[in-house]
Amino acid sequence: MLVLTRRANQSIVIGNEVVVTVLEVRGDQVRLGITAPRSIDVHREEVYKALQEANREAVDITGDALDPAAVTDA
C-alpha cells in the first residue's frame, strides 16, 4: 500500500485521470473529493463490499425461483 500524507485542500493524482482531494478534516472524519471519468466507478468500500455480497446472493436463483434450463429466449 502506498501511504501519503496530505492536508486539507491537497490532492493525490492517480494515473492520468483520477484526482483525490482532501476537502476538509474534522475530528476523525475526512471529506474527500474525487474527480474521475464516468467510466471509472468510485465506491465507499463498505458499500462496494455490500454490493458484491448482494450480487453473489442474487445469482443463486436456481434453488428458489426457477430452473434456468426451463427458460426461453426473450
Binding site: P37, R38, S39, D41, H43, E46, V47, Y48, A50, L51, Q52, E53, A54, N55, R56, E57, A58, V59, I61, D64, A65, L66, P68, A70, V71, T72, D73, A74
Partner: protein, 137 residues
Amino acid sequence: MIDLALSTACAAVDADIVFPDGLPGFPDARRFRVRSWPRPDEPFALLVDVDQPDVAFAVVPAGMLDSAQVDVLEAAAAHPTLRDIADVVVRCIVTPGHAPTVNLLAPIVVDRATGIARQVTLDGPPDAIRTPLAFRS
C-alpha cells in the same frame, strides 16, 4: 416477450449486453443475454452470462416497484456511453428467497444504442441494496 425494452437493448445492435468491467462480485462476467421468465404473469426477466450460464440475475423494471423510486436521470448520468435519455433501460436486480429483496441502490443501466451496461451506484442509504420486493398495485 416479458421485457421488450431490455430485449431490444441487445437485439438492436445484434449483440450481447456488455458490461465492460463486469459487476461487483463478478468482474469477469461481461457478456449477457436476456432470457424470458418461465411464468409470463410475473414481470421478471433473466440476464444470463453467455460465457458462464450459472451466472444469471433476475431483474425487474424499477417503475413497477412499490417503493422509493430509482432516479432514472441519476442512473443515466452515471452510464459511460449513454447520450440520449430515450435509449436508457433501467432494471433492478432481485434476490429471491422467502423474503425477496430488490437492489434499489445499484440498478443496472443499459444503453440501447450501444448495448453497453453498467451496474451504477446511486446516492442513497446502503440498506437500499436489500429493499423488500413489493409491486405497485
